[in-house]
């Protein structure tokens, strides 16, 4: 027992537990911060950015995209921006992306966090393929939806008449004017934010939201019946996506069900 109480052993354990104490405190604070600073989806990244979760781990935070940006659109986040520190982002209401055709930001990236391959469609590299976000319109504050002839967003849009189109509608209030309502086409909107920058309302009525918030997904439950090629989407869908519950009704093929007049009349399918 005397050996157990030796001063060496006591001081070793004391030192050791002291270390454990300090490091537990430090590591908890550190982890809490890391957890906060991890992927936040409420941020607009430069053209060609890989998905946000990979973005924060792959970006080396060198700022070369920020230095390459000729219009000072991109900023490097500081500790006060409450997003992963040292990563590039932009705020379209302040300065919107000018969609430079030579793509200086993504070309400067040494880590492929801004991946030029994501800007390539059918082997053609174009800044117009970028998907930084999607313009979304608040139709209750948009001047055009109230009947004014505003058209500021479509005039600012670099892909006017494809990414934003104007829909003509009769204005029933005056019965002699037309609405010129801007409508965004998600297939073409790059998320550059020129429209948000140009919007004359106090808080922009057309705003760029990150794709993670606005991108819908039809999933594998629905197939567009009038498009032959849409069925192939199911071939690549993960098998776990498709879970069809077996009921009396869908045991038979669709055509058999339709032809089974007797069954329908007899109310056979009161599941």
């Amino acid at each position: 027992m005397e050996k157990l109480n030796s001063p060496d052993r006591r001081s070793f354990l004391h030192k050791f537990m002291q270390g454990v104490g300090y490091s537990a405190f430090g590591v908890i604070m550190w982890s809490a911060y890391l957890n906060q600073a991890q992927a936040k989806n409420l941020i607009l990244r430069p053209p060609g950015a890989i998905p946000e979760k990979d973005f924060v781990s792959t970006c080396i935070r060198c700022g070369m995209c920020v230095q390459a940006c000729p219009y000072d659109v991109l900023k490097l986040s500081t500790i006060s921006d409450a997003i992963s520190i040292g990563t590039p982002f932009f705020t379209p209401r302040k300065v919107a992306c000018h969609l430079c055709s030579d793509i200086p930001c993504a070309s400067a990236c040494p880590t492929n966090t801004l991946d030029l391959n994501l800007l390539r469609v059918d082997d053609k590299l174009s800044i117009n393929n970028s998907k930084m976000g999607l313009a979304t319109i608040n139709t209750k504050t948009c001047l055009a939806y109230m009947g004014l002839q505003c058209t500021m967003c479509i005039r600012a849009c670099p892909l006017a008449d494809t990414a934003i189109v104007l829909h003509n509608e009769r204005n029933p209030r005056t019965d002699m004017h037309a609405f010129l309502k801007p409508v965004v086409n998600p297939d073409y909107c790059t998320g550059c934010g020129m429209c948000e920058h140009a919007c004359p309302t106090t808080i922009a009525s057309i705003q760029i939201l990150p794709l993670s918030l606005t991108k819908g997904d039809i999933g594998s439950f629905y197939v567009i019946g009038w498009k032959k090629e849409d069925e192939h989407r199911l071939d690549v869908a993960k098998s776990t996506d498709i879970k069809v519950q077996r009921t009396k009704r869908n045991k038979k093929s669709a055509i058999d069900n339709v032809n089974d007049v007797d069954g329908i009349l007899k109310g056979l399918y009161n599941e």
Binding site: G26, Y33, I60, R61, Q67, K75, T78, G86
Partner: protein, 273 residues
Amino acid sequence: MSSFIYKNRFLIPRRLTQLLIMTLYIGANAYGWNIVRGDLSSSIFFDLIPLSDPFVVLQMFFGGALISADILMGVGIVLFFYAVVGGRFFCSWVCPVNIITETATWLRKKFNLLEKENAISFSRNIRYWVIAITLILSFIFSIAAFDMISPIGIAHRGIIFGFGFGWFFLLSIFLFDLFSQKYGWCGHVCPLGGFNALIGKYSLIKVTHDKDKCLYSMACFEACPEVEILSMVGMISKPITGASCIKCGQCIEVCENDAFKVSIVSITKQIKG
């Protein structure tokens, strides 16, 4: 005046190098100079030679990132440089935090603050534990863990791209070094310094001590930020082989009788001792 320059014959070039490097980065961001672009995490020289911080890339690797060829090449070049010149060369000749902590230490000496043994004394090996914790946290959170809180990152990115509240982080390190622990950050905690020390352990450039010239003034012990590496001073004539030597040359500056000098020592000689 000339004696002032002689007395600071390492300090002046070191400060000039630190300022020059930061100026080039700022110029690249603000005026589009094309000498060196990027920051201390990763940069490119003359649009040709990539440079990347090995510790940041290691964290990214543990975080599960795909490392591109450009970055690997940059890491290779930096590793080679560190292995030849010494990894902690970065600490005293490039790192902007070094200016903060050395200013704190200078003030500490000037005002004779707390030179006695402190109540809490930190081990200098903490930094190696911090490396391990950094890599574990990087793995768990899939993010370069130290880079997220690194005062070095905050400092150089702040200088080049703007600070935000990063000032407070640097201020806290300044106060920690000034009042709590002498060379607290650089000499005890910083995992980047620890990592660079490990890389440059057998670097060719070393400071060599000559015991026959030693006057036992202990001035070098006062000046050295990593005193443990001076264990042979006054006893054995040999190169300072401790990995944590930051190559700042302060021992050479303060020595009255030139008992230290810079020399090139082969690896085989270092391993034999």
